[in-house]
């Protein structure tokens, strides 16, 4: 699973370098490290599990394609999430032209058997209670381990906005999860 500690970042950089050389086992290692972050992020933005799956898939392909041109700035995760983000935005743009899907649990709730009923409540509350950008920020911080400053960079928002949205979101979640 992803870990944005320095060592892990170094490890990701190494994998991307190997991927650039066509090493698919490195792509498998990378997938294991980043799939949770990418999928969770995509799910939080798209609120649709099948679209999120597509984004995870396409992000991996894009990494495979773009790895030779990747220049390490010590921020491999930010690079990957930026790819995922632009794929999400493309998906949203496409969606808004053709349909306006209602928000239904069945549409977004993942089907993994490991999910406990509490996990499902947490996911449902994240999707239904939080605003879109609040959710995006919370997932990037809680699941991917990005610092608020890094999230501000990725999303192109002022740090103060990220912090206040994050705090508001956590407050909402605390309340709604305690009510359950």
């Amino acid at each position: 699973m992803l870990n944005v500690e320095t060592n892990s970042l170094k490890m990701l950089d190494e994998q991307i370098a190997k991927i650039a050389d066509g090493d698919k086992s490195a792509l498998a290692v990378l997938y294991n490290c980043i799939s949770v972050s990418v999928y969770s992020y995509a799910l939080s933005v798209l609120k649709n599990r099948s679209d999120a799956e597509d984004v995870l898939h396409d992000t991996m392909l894009e990494v495979w394609r773009s790895a030779p041109g990747y220049q390490s700035m010590g921020k491999p995760m930010a690079w990957i999430i930026t790819i995922a983000r632009s794929l999400c935005l493309m998906n949203l743009r496409r969606k808004s032209r053709f349909s306006d899907e209602p928000l239904e649990t069945a549409v977004y709730m993942p089907e993994n058997e490991e999910l406990t009923s509490e996990d499902k409540i947490v996911i449902r509350k994240c999707i239904e209670t939080l605003g879109d950008s609040e959710r995006e920020i919370v997932i990037l911080h809680a699941v991917s381990g990005f610092k608020h400053r890094e999230i501000a960079e990725i999303l192109g928002l002022p740090l103060s906005t990220v912090l206040s949205k994050y705090n508001r979101a956590i407050k909402k979640l605390r309340k709604t999860l305690s009510d359950n």
Binding site: S25, L61, C126, V138, I170
Partner: protein, 579 residues
């Protein structure tokens, strides 16, 4: 629910949500790679031999590559991270079969431990044997430093706990095999961005950062910075000395303190030092009675206490005892036995009893009382008390013959630094004194509504310490001052009151937040209710030119001290000390 708990729940729920689409990704990549080669070949119109080579290459990538990758899926994936911290810090990355994928050094000592050993593909147990063996061989684990921190990071807490247990048993056996009684701290950890940030900032592993954070959570007097430089054995000793336990931290064995001189030896060094510096035979005798001569004799709790602590990143014994109304506080270097710091002040009970209890050492009465507010200068009282009330006049240049700069020069240095003219100075006192073994001139005077106190190195003329505060008469007369304001009432300093009446504009007290507000700010920061605070004192003071409230009180087992900006209410400094 704490933020951390909520984040953990989110992380856990979303982590389980991911569909496994790796096969499909890998397949698609192969197809793409094949296509790319074909397109290149078409475009560039290479000869037949190149075509065959390119297609063969595509097949290798497509089939051979895929087969190899598929067989490696799972075995090349990091499922668990194990961290060992002693002073060397290393991490071991494991796949799901507990085969080692990588071993990485997390500090330079870690590099020494790993050397040129190649662990890839080895069994975890083999790697642990080699790593711990290397730590023993290189002296990082020994009789005098027997602690190791073992940390396991695995998404599945049950698996992590099980592996933690096995590792502890395994390491215990290895260390025991070297005839060393190991002290093993172990924990399960998971990614925490705050811990990672601290680890990065201070250049320690996340596992050590977690341990340090746990210690700090229990002892707020310490700082991350000073703990980051300690070895695990030193942290373990501190943790034990403070009685810190944590639900997540499993502890086996006792950390070695063999490197240190021992509590008794530290106690005796402090007591001997105090006796050597006693100003009269009677006090010397009283102090000497505290010496612990027999090896099996325990230091009586009634006499005082001694405990291991840390000072400027060094392990010290903190020794405290009381003799003849004096509180002595020593810090003794735990390894060398040197006196690092010492301090003597008049006992609180004595001070609160309006001076009637005992009348010897009058002059030390004034200086000792002062030391309770300005904290640093109480050890200077030894010489003062013997020179009983003697005020030095400029002509009393008693030390010019001994290689010292002389009182006059010391005065000039102080006046210059304070920016006052000689003509504006009142109540000048200059005394030769001793501060932590260094001879200083203690110069105190008042000028322009302020009281100044300087310590000037008697040999070099360098200012060792200085303090200035608003003269008592300048303070807000309406404030409900508490009884401890001995400064204005006891010694002979305030005899000439005429100095303060003219320039009161400096402290226009109407702008100040008031004692009550300062008190509330301090209580809020300390997280205590007003009713639980005792021995409350608040004084208007000046720190680096800014008027502050100097607030102190005790609550529970702690003494608190705050400096609060008298106008903005901002907390300048705060200190919490065990009572």
């Amino acid at each position: 629910m704490a933020n951390k708990d909520i984040e953990q729940k989110i992380k856990s729920a979303f982590s389980k949500s991911v569909p496994d689409i790796l096969d499909s990704v890998l397949q698609q990549c192969s197809e793409q790679k094949g296509t790319v080669i074909e397109m290149t070949e078409n475009k560039k119109k290479k000869g037949l031999i190149y075509k065959i080579a390119a297609i063969a290459a595509a097949f290798v990538v497509l089939f051979g590559g895929t087969a190899a990758v598929l067989s490696m899926i799972g075995v090349n994936i990091v499922e668990t991270k194990v961290f060992f911290d002693v002073n060397p810090s290393v991490e071991i990355l494991l796949n799901r079969n507990e085969r080692v994928l990588e071993v990485n050094a997390l500090n330079s000592d870690g590099e020494k431990i790993i050397g040129d050993m190649d662990f890839k593909g080895t069994d975890l147990e083999v790697s642990v044997n080699a790593l711990i063996g290397s730590m023993l061989q290189n002296g990082y684990l020994s009789d005098i430093a027997n602690s190791i921190l073992v940390s396991v990071d695995n998404g599945d807490p049950q698996k992590a706990a099980e592996l933690q247990q096995r590792l502890v048993e395994n390491i215990n056996a290895i260390i025991g095999g070297a005839s060393i009684d190991g002290a093993i701290l172990s924990q399960t950890i998971s990614h925490d961005s705050d811990i990672s940030a601290l680890a990065e900032q201070y250049g320690v592993s996340c596992s050590k950062a977690q341990l340090i954070s746990d210690i700090l959570a229990e002892n707020s007097l310490l700082t991350f910075e000073e703990l980051a430089g300690l070895s695990i054995n030193e942290l373990n000793v501190l943790r034990q000395s403070d009685g810190i336990t944590n639900d997540n931290l499993q502890i086996t064995g006792t950390p070695s303190t063999d490197r240190y001189i021992g509590e008794k030896s530290a106690w005796n060094k402090a007591v001997n030092h105090a006796a050597d510096n006693a100003e009269n035979q009677e006090l010397k005798k009283d102090i000497s009675n505290l010496i612990c001569e027999k090896t099996d004799e325990n230091i009586s709790a009634a006499d005082g206490k001694v405990k291991l602590d840390i000072e400027n990143g060094k392990m010290v014994y903190e020794v405290e005892f009381m003799v003849s109304d004096y509180d002595y506080e020593y810090e003794i270097d735990a390894v060398t036995g040197d006196v690092v710091k010492y301090d003597r002040e008049l006992d609180d009970d004595y001070r609160d009893s309006s001076g009637n209890k005992k009348t010897t050492g009058d002059s030390s009465n004034s200086s000792d009382n002062k030391s309770s507010t300005s904290n640093n200068n109480s050890s200077s009282s030894n010489n003062k008390s013997s020179s009983s009330n003697k005020k030095s006049s400029p002509s009393n240049n008693k030390s010019s013959s001994s290689g010292y700069i002389g009182e006059q020069k010391a005065n000039d240095i102080a006046f210059k630094h304070a920016g006052v003219s000689v003509s504006s100075v009142n109540e000048l006192e200059t005394e030769l004194d001793r501060e932590n073994g260094t001879v200083v001139y203690d110069v105190s005077f008042s000028a322009g509504g302020y009281e100044y106190d300087y310590e000037i190195n008697a040999t070099t003329g360098k200012i060792a310490r200085y303090d200035s505060e608003i003269d008592d008469d300048y303070r807000n007369g309406t404030d409900t001052k508490t009884s401890s304001n001995s400064k204005s009432s006891s010694n002979g300093k305030t005899t000439s009151n005429n100095k303060s009446s003219s320039s009161n504009d400096k402290s226009s007290s109407s702008n100040y937040i008031g004692e009550q507000k300062a008190k509330e700010i301090a209580f809020k920061h300390a997280g205590i209710s007003g009713s639980s605070a005792k021995e409350f004192e608040a004084e208007l003071d000046r720190e680096n030119g800014v008027v502050i409230y100097d607030v102190s009180f005790s609550a529970g087992e702690y003494e608190y001290e705050y400096e609060i900006n008298a106008i903005t209410g901002e907390i300048f400094s705060h200190d919490k000390e065990r009572d």
